[in-house]
Every structure is written in C-alpha cells, then in structure tokens.
C-alpha cells in the first residue's frame, strides 16, 4: 500500500515552504518534496518577499536576518548614480545629469506609487476585493488605461532624457520577458514600485546566507520536508489529482498538490504538454574564493545597461535564438563570496557554448567594478527561467494565477506571482485557497 498525505507541496523554494507551513498550520498532513539534496537559498536578492508571511511565520524570531534592506537601484556608468527611496536625495543626485530629470523624478515616483497602491490590493489580497478599477473616477481610470497600454520605453521617454537613467529604469520593465515597447511593460514598473513602497523595507533586501531557508525550515511545524525526492509524474483521475509518482517508482497519494514549478513544467508532469516560451531570464551565480577583496560598493542592485535601445535589441536577438552583444544585466552582492547576476532576455534554450559565452559576458561586465574577479572565480551556476509575460497576466485576478485545469492542483511558484519573484505570497494564497475549499 502506498503512502498517503493530505497535501503535497512540490519544490522547497520560498513559495513551497510558505505553502507547506500554512497548510500544516491549517491542520493538514503535509509533505514538502524537494528533488535536490537540500533546499537552496534563493539565487538572487529578495525583491518581493512577502512581509505578511515573514510576520505570520515569525521568521525573524526563527533566525532570518538581513544583510541589507531596502536596496536602492544603482545606475552604472561614467558617473554612478544611486536611486533610493529618499526622493530628494535621488533628485539631487540626478541633477548632476539633467535638471529636467531631477525635477521629473519625484513626480514619476509618486505617480508609480499611487498606481501601485491601487493595484497592490488587486495583486495580493485575495479574490474578494473586486476589480482594480471598480471604485475609481474617470480620470484615474483613464490614466490607468494609458499605463496598461503603454510600453515602458514610451512611458519613460516622455519623462526622462538621460540615456543611462532610461536604460536602467527599463531594466525593471523587462521583468517576466516583456519587450519594453509592449503593453504591460509600463505596468511592470508599477509592480516593482509596489515592492518598494513604504513599510516594505524587507521586500527588497538581501538575507544573510542560510538564514531565510533556515528560518523557513524551522517554521514548517508539522509539515515534513523530504529531500532527494523527485516527482516524475502528477497522477490524475477524471480531471482531479490523486497523488504523485516519484523517481524511485513509489507513489504518494494526496487530494491536494501545490506545485512551485513553472506552470508549463507542472502541467507537463500532469501529462498536459505545454508550449514553452522562446525567451528566458538567466540567473547566474558567481562563487568567489574566500579571500577575495570585495571593493567598497554600496548594497544595491546594480544595473548594467548603458543604452536605452539595448533592451529592444536584446529581446529581438533572444527571440531569434541569439545572445545579444550588449546584454542588460543586474548584479547584487549576496555575500562576500557570492554575486548574483541576472541577465535578460536570453534564448530559452542555450547551447553549451552559449552558456559559456553568457558566463563570460557576466564576468566581463562586472570586472570594471570588481578588479580581480576573474581570478577569484571558483564556480559559476546558470539557471534559466523561461517566461513571456503578457498584459493579461498582470491584470489577472489572483485565483486564476494559482489555478490549473486539474482539480486539486495549485501553483505557488514564481509563475503564480504577477511577475516572477521570490515572494512566498503565492504559497500563502494557495494554502489559503486550498484550506477554505
């Protein structure tokens, strides 16, 4: 007779831990299945960490501690520029480049924050708050429509003139695989602003190595973590889940499954093949020798994008299966021995040669800021996240992002967020939806 659990969670990522913890607190016998030997720290900065999850699971008390909070955006170039939360500090820094941009900055940020405040409810609190524009007046609605249908390039071009500033701001618009001229890309800017709003300092932060996963493991409570347990199939019967089959051939029966894999991978496991998008985001982890002398750089997400048009060029190249000569990147110093580099857009499938090329590009792009980086390098890991977000994804109500055509199968990974992010929100929402059903 095979094993039985009330709920299975596939993938010990932040979303997986979140779902499993909430399900266990709801009284369900829950197993968290992880294919690798041990859960891994997220391979980047925490850009959208769910503050409610952090508070409700009491993660700080369980060991979570931050190396840096409230990360500003650093614009790389001949004259470096740090854009943080303080509007007037950012403004006066911008005044070195352009008076017009310095004047436009506070208005731009306030505008994004106002839109973010409206949409935040829609994106994160639940299925029950109604349409995002239900209570708006005509003027707000008009400006929201304009934002929905605008490409970020046009939206930003109408406001700023400094090329390096435009190029850096456009980085955020490419999240999820948007081309910066596509409708939805301007809304991606609002999504980012929503992560950086007042009171969300931890939502854009770097945790001390191991403390996030450590605290989440301690928060699991009655839920059980099983490592080295790879799910090879999601078993279904007449449109509903019945359990999973593991790599060793054994089965676990369950009525509910929460998957933190991508939508395409999850449905593939359930025997419903999905087309994969043609472009991806590459997350490159650079491991450094212990003694590496880290230059004195402020904790920030550093954007490497010099020209505004390189985003469009790279998107076009990626769709044609090429890695652009000028590839936009972002890097964050996770720890003295680890740098997370994100590069996008790149093709969804890379040849071995292209992987090498990508790794070399990342190292070369960082070298000016990090003398001696190439010599200190001890390892490079590249992970690809295929994704091609669309306007509808950003406007879809939360349940539709979590639901699948299979009854009892919910998503809680990065695909279940409005834009891919290490958040944990989708896990919390999925557990809640499942417990209330």
């Amino acid at each position: 007779m095979s094993e039985r659990a009330a709920a299975l969670v596939i993938g010990a990522s932040v979303g997986g831990f979140s779902a499993a913890s909430y399900l266990a607190r709801g009284g369900l016998h829950t197993l968290l299945l992880e294919a690798e030997q041990a859960p891994r720290d997220p391979d980047g900065a925490l850009i959208a960490l769910d503050p409610r999850m952090v508070a409700e699971l009491r993660l700080p008390a369980l060991g979570l501690s931050f190396a840096a909070r409230d990360l500003p955006m650093a614009v790389t170039g001949d004259m470096p520029l740090l854009l943080g939360r303080e509007l007037y500090a950012a403004s006066s820094a911008l005044a070195k480049f352009s008076d017009a941009d310095a004047l436009a900055w506070p208005a731009y940020r306030r505008r994004l924050t106002a839109e973010a405040r409206r949409l935040r409810r829609w994106w994160w609190t639940a299925p029950d708050t109604g349409a995002p524009d239900a209570t708006w007046n005509a003027g707000a609605r008009q400006s929201f429509h304009h934002l929905c249908f605008s490409g970020a390039d046009a939206y930003l071009n109408a406001r700023f003139e400094t090329p390096s500033l435009l190029a850096a701001l456009l980085w955020d618009a490419g999240a999820g695989g948007f081309a910066v001229s596509e409708p939805g890309s301007a809304l991606a800017l609002v999504w980012r602003a929503a992560q950086e709003m007042a009171g969300l300092q931890d939502a854009a932060a770097i945790a001390h190595p191991g403390t996030l996963i450590g605290s989440l493991t301690r928060a699991l409570g009655m839920a059980q973590l099983r490592t080295q347990t790879r799910v090879t199939r999601i078993l279904t019967k007449s449109g509903g889940v019945t359990g999973v089959m593991l790599a060793d051939g054994s089965e676990i029966e369950a009525d509910h499954i929460v998957s933190t894999l991508s939508r395409a991978n999850t449905l593939n496991l359930a025997g419903m093949p999905q087309p994969t998008p043609s472009i991806a985001e590459a997350r490159i982890l650079l491991r450094l020798a212990p003694g590496f002398a880290v230059p004195d750089v402020p904790p920030a997400r550093h954007i490497l994008a010099a020209r505004p048009d390189m985003h469009a060029d790279a998107h076009e190249a990626a769709r044609a299966g090429r890695i652009a000569a000028d590839l936009p990147m972002e890097w964050v110093m996770l720890a003295p021995d680890r740098i997370a580099v994100t590069a996008r857009p790149v093709p969804a499938t890379l040849s071995a040669e292209q992987r090498w090329k990508l790794a070399a590009k990342a190292v070369m792009a960082l070298s000016p800021a990090m003398p001696g980086l190439a010599d200190a390098l001890t390892g490079v890991e590249i992970r690809l996240r295929p994704q091609r977000a669309r306007l509808a994804d950003l406007l879809a109500p939360p349940p539709s992002r979590l639901l699948t055509p299979v009854k009892g199968l919910l998503l809680a990974g990065e695909d279940a967020e409005p834009l891919p992010s290490i958040s944990g929100r989708a896990g919390r929402l999925a557990a809640r939806a499942l417990l209330s059903s």
Binding site: A138, R141, F149, A154, A179, E182, D309, A317
Partner: protein, 435 residues
C-alpha cells in the same frame, strides 16, 4: 472676406471635410502648400511612359458614404476578414459619435461623466500580427512594427487594402478635389499655412507664407499632431498640456519606396512579401541602412495596365524599417543607392531575371515623404500605431482651443479609414456650431 472654415491640407481628409461642410452650406476654403490637390493620392510619370503612385499603392478603406459622395471607383486588393472589419467599424463609429456629440461646457462635466467603455480594439493590444499570416505583408510594408510583439496586431485596423480601379491613386486625388469643388469649396493651391491666427481666445484664421491672412470662424488642420500643434502656433499660444501631448506623440516614419520601370512584364503576377530578418529593426533603431528590411513587391501594372507602356511593366517596392534619420548624416545619394541595391539583390534572388529587364529605378526615402507631404518623419500613419497611441487614446477632433479642429491621421478616426478623420472634424465643427 471671412470664411466659415479654413482647412489646412488638400488631402483626402481635408477635401472630405471641405465637401462635407460646403454641402451643409458653409463657406469653406482649403489651403494647400503643393501645386496640386490630393496629398499622398498622386500618380506621377517617374520615367517616360511609366506611371506610379510614389507614396503608396493603396489606402485604408474609404468609408462607404465618403466613397459614394465623391463617386470614387475603388478596388479591394484583398477583402478584410469579417472579425477585423467589425472591430474597425465599431472603432470608427465610436470616433464619429464622439465628434457629433455636442460637448458640455467646461471640463468638469467630462470628469463627472461615467467611466468610458472599453475601446473596440482593446483585444488587439495583447495580440501579435504574426497570428495573421495572410495580412502580415500589407501591415508590415512600410512600417517598423515587430510582428512578434503584443499589440502589433493593431496595425490590422489600418490596412491599406483599397486601390484605384485604374490610373493609380492620383485619380482618387482628382476625384476628391473635384467633389469638394463641386460641393462649393474653394481650393487654393500653392498656399502654405504658417500659423493659426488666434483672436479672443479662439482660432480666427490662418496666416500664409506669402504674408497674407485668410480669416475664418474655424480652422481644421489635417497635418499630423506634431505639425498641427508645434509648428502652426507660436510657443506661448497653446496651453502647456497640449504642447506636452504633441511633444510626446511618437511618429514612426519607416517607409521607403522603389518605383521600378521594367522593359517586359515581371515573371510574377501577384505581390511578393519578403519579411526580412531581425537585424533590420535593430538597424532601424540605430539609424543604419538595413540590409534585409521587410519588402513588399507589387506588380501594379498587372492590375492596372495603363501604368506602363504596352508590353512593359511598372512594379513598386515598399520597404519598412527604414530610418528617417541616419546616425552618420543625411540620406546621401550613396546611401540611397545602397538601399536600392540591397533590395534589388533580394528581388533578383526571389524572381530571377528581374535585373535584366530593369530600365529605371526611382528611390523615395522617409525624408522625401516628409518634405513632399509635410508628414513628420515621413510617417504616413500620423503617429506610431502602438497601443498607447491607438485604443481611444489618440486625440479626438476637438482641441482645447475653441474653433481649432484636428482632421488628420493622428486623430482617432485617422488610421481607420481614408477621409474618415476629415469627416469627423467636419462633424465636430458642425455640432459645435449648432450649439
């Protein structure tokens, strides 16, 4: 003498507006910079015995009422699929309805009005042109759109699928001019408008390049939004938000044309579309001459034998993703030749033997269109067809300056039908007059 309306530009829009207003009994004058009426609807003898319409072979469909009023004889190149037609017609109907409405006084009423219904084309904002392979060529020819990006399908609402039954687009231009004059409008050729005269906070006439003034109760500009607001007014004459809107309005001129005179008929009877490669749009963004831009070859004299001498052929080639401004200077003769050479090499590869029968090539690049048609950046669509510039967010016919109307391609009705924007502007003017 004081007119009821002065109209800037004698293209399809200006002449439609003129005829509509004149028929209603208004005293109308049309001011045209060029020495002939018709705007882009012209056909020239580009080589002895060979005729072609230099700026386009076809136009966006002419609304039936307008085609009838001017007695136009048109031929559809391909019929528009029903789904597209319904959306386009709904959008057009909405633009007309908005024009005919008498506006409530003041801006407060506008803010208190119930939220707008969604615009008829909104579903296209998330659709790619690539999903419509049969119409892709006509939508991409002469444009810089990326057919794989969401929103590119909006170009389908402005497909140039109507051509003149015979004699090229110039015959349509002549029909429009005759129709306007027959209705009682006065057309003044060779008169360049330089400024809109403002008196008592409303438009009161047009100042001309020759120093004279034409006084009128209302003015309709059929120029694009940038030209209308930025070049027809002194800097302080309009409220800041209007200037801001015009400055941020994106023009997307990307059309080059080759007119080919062939000694013998081309070895192909139907149009040929070569989509080009992904480096073309990169070159476009960087201001370089692209090697393989989207190319639509049309053997126009097959359908309209009068365009070429007996036994010979006129062929037009429309190239897209051609930058208006090159990063290293102007469109020198060498650059023009390079552009033509790349295009001809691709054509020769697709239809071998073409070069051997080629007699003459005329090259038209975006700055030529800009200077001939007063279209900013040579954009024949009046602005980029991006979702934020379509979907009801284009300006309407009315402006914040009383008595000044927009009747060109930049307005909501502009890209949806030939003459439609002129009709909407005339309708708005009459609705306001009736107030």
């Amino acid at each position: 003498m004081r007119y009821d309306a002065a109209i800037i530009g004698a293209g399809a829009d200006g002449l439609t507006a003129a005829a509509t207003l004149a028929k209603a009994g208004l005293k109308v004058v049309v001011l045209e910079r060029a020495s002939r009426a018709g705007g882009r609807l012209v056909t020239l003898e580009f080589h002895p015995g060979y005729f072609a319409s230099p700026y386009a072979d076809a136009v966006a469909e002419v609304p039936l009422a307008i085609a009838r009023a001017f007695g136009l004889s048109l031929r559809p190149i391909t019929p528009l699929p029903d789904g597209l037609r319904a959306t386009r017609d709904a959008a057009l109907a909405r633009a007309f309805a908005e024009a005919m409405e008498t506006p409530t006084v003041g801006t407060l009423a506008k803010w208190l009005a119930p939220p707008q219904q969604s615009w008829p084309g909104e579903n296209f904002a998330a659709t790619e042109l690539a999903a419509w392979p049969a119409l892709r060529g006509r939508a991409l020819a002469g444009r810089s759109l990326d057919p794989e990006l969401a929103g590119s399908a909006l170009a389908l609402l402005s497909l140039p699928l109507s051509e003149a039954a015979s004699g090229g687009l110039g015959t349509l231009g002549d029909d429009f001019a005759e129709g306007a004059e027959a209705a009682g409008a006065e057309i003044r050729l060779g008169q360049e408008a330089t400024e809109v005269v403002i008196a008592e906070a409303r438009a009161a006439g047009v100042a001309l390049a020759n120093g004279s003034r034409v006084m009128a109760k209302s003015v309709i500009s059929t120029l694009d939004l940038r030209q209308s607001l930025l070049s027809l007014f002194s800097r302080t004459a309009l409220p800041d938000h209007m200037l801001e809107e015009a400055r941020n309005w994106r023009m997307a001129g990307a059309t080059a044309r080759l007119l080919l005179a062939l000694r013998r008929p081309l070895r192909r009877e139907t149009p040929l579309f070569l989509p080009g490669d992904s480096t073309a749009r990169t070159a476009f963004r960087h201001g370089r001459v692209p090697e393989a831009p989207p190319l639509l070859l049309d053997p126009v004299s097959r359908r309209d034998p009068g365009l070429a001498p007996e036994g010979a052929a006129t062929v037009t080639v429309t190239l897209g993703a051609i930058p208006h401004r090159l990063f290293d200077g102007g469109w020198t003769p060498e650059k023009r030749t390079a552009l033509a050479a790349h295009a001809l090499a691709r054509i020769e590869k697709a239809i071998p033997g073409t070069l051997a029968i080629l007699t003459s090539v005329k090259i038209i690049v975006p700055p030529d269109m800009e200077s001939a048609l007063a279209a900013t950046a040579g954009d024949l669509d009046g602005g980029a067809l991006a979702p934020d510039q379509m979907l009801g967010l284009r300006p309407g016919s009315r402006t914040a300056l009383p008595g000044f109307y927009l009747g060109g391609r930049s307005t909501q009705a502009g890209p949806l039908g030939t003459g439609a924007a002129g009709f909407a502007a005339a309708a708005a003017l009459m609705a306001d007059g009736a107030k």
